[in-house]
Structure formats: structure tokens, C-alpha cells
């Protein structure tokens, strides 16, 4: 199983500068664990530290095949071979 994950500029320090990496997992949560194994430190940048590992950070957007995962189960969203995952930091401020 292979899932392509697009990495934003700010997280490319974890991927050796790569814009896209491959990972595995039947859910977004499993995929992030798999990414963490190959790119240590990346998980902490994606998961809300106050959520006990159950939620994404508020200002990180993750999309599966163009769908914002917040509308399709968050970290429990399911993945299949060939899915495309995009990670984008929110553009926001006050």
C-alpha cells in the first residue's frame, strides 16, 4: 500500500527537503505514525498536544483526495492504496 503525502515548506526540514513522501496506513492516524517512523518529529507538528493524540492541530489542514479530513472523520479518516494526502498550514492571524 502506498499513499503519497504532500509536505508543506515549513515541514520539509523533516523530509530532507522533499515536497512529497510516501507512507502507509489504513487511517490518517496510522499514516502519521508511519511518517513519524521515517521522519521523526513530524507527528508532533501535526497532532494537537492538548488532545491526547486524538486531534490534529487547529491550524494544520490535512486533505485526503481534496477533502478536508475534518469533515470525514479527522484522524480516523480511512485511507486506501493510491490516495493522495496534502498537508497545508492554515494561513491565518489576527
Amino acid at each position: 500500500m502506498a499513499i503519497e503525502v504532500r509536505i508543506p515548506t515549513i515541514l520539509r526540514t523533516y523530509t530532507g527537503g522533499e515536497k512529497a513522501v510516501r507512507g502507509d496506513g489504513a487511517s490518517l492516524s496510522a499514516l502519521i505514525d508511519d511518517l513519524e517512523a521515517s521522519h521523526p518529529g513530524i507527528k508532533e507538528r501535526l497532532i494537537d498536544p492538548d488532545s491526547n493524540g486524538s486531534d490534529l492541530r487547529r491550524f494544520v489542514n490535512v486533505y485526503i483526495n481534496d477533502e478536508d479530513v475534518r469533515f470525514i472523520g479527522g484522524l480516523e479518516a480511512t485511507l486506501a492504496d493510491g490516495d493522495e494526502v496534502v498537508v497545508l498550514p492554515a494561513v491565518a492571524g489576527g
Binding site: P8, N61, D68, L88, A90, A92, G93, G94
Partner: protein, 144 residues
Amino acid sequence: MLTIDQATYDGIVAHAKRDHPDEACGIVAGPEGSDRPERLVAMLNAASSPTFYEFDSTDLLQLYKQMDVNDEEPVVIYHSHTATEAYPSRTDIGLAQEPNAHYVLVSTREHGNNEGPVEFRSYRITDGAVTEEEVSVVTQLPTV
């Protein structure tokens, strides 16, 4: 230093005035690595707020996909402050996640929707550190 052409500068200012008293936001895309702000993209402030801005998540994805196709990056990320000075707020600093971008702040506090000068300032924001930079407005960006 941020070098920006007059038409793009005027476009950002007009957007900020139009959306006052809510914050306006958008980007200016340019070829990757070029530092040339060429393509102004005014974005919707999904927060519709005088104190907060956020790109809609679907719009954000479309924007980045388009930039990817064009080999572009966000050279400028701009937003307005409508009651305070054109200086990054604590929230702006905490949420700045494009280390290569010029963060432009426009303040409409003085003239709101009306004619009149605005503050237009530019910053680099990396790892929580803010560095103001000079803004040079030119008739046209130099030819490559």
C-alpha cells in the same frame, strides 16, 4: 527588502479598504525562488472578522494546487488590521507558517473604506522572530 509593483500594491490597498472593518487577506504568488510578487490573489476571510483572518480550507487547497501547477510559491502573504497599527500581532507571529514569505500588513484604521493613505509595512516572521524590512514600490518589476 520587498520590491512590489505599483499595481499590485494598489490592489492590496484597495482590497483592504473594501473589506474594512473586517480584515482583508490574500497572497501575491510568484515563481518559486524568484522573490517576485507577480500574481495577486485576493482571498476570502472565512472568519469575516475585524480581529481575525483565516483562508477558507477549500480555497486554501485550491490556491496551493494552482501554485503547484504554476511552479509558484506565496511570495507575499498580506492582511489588514482595521483598528491597530500595521504590525504583526501575537497571533500573527504564532501562526506564521510560511518561512519564505514577506508578511505584509496594511492598516486601515485611519481612513477605513475611504480614500486616504494607509500604513503598508512588510516583515519576515521566522520561528517567532519579527524583522521589519523596507518596501520598495516600483512602476514595474525589473525584467528577468
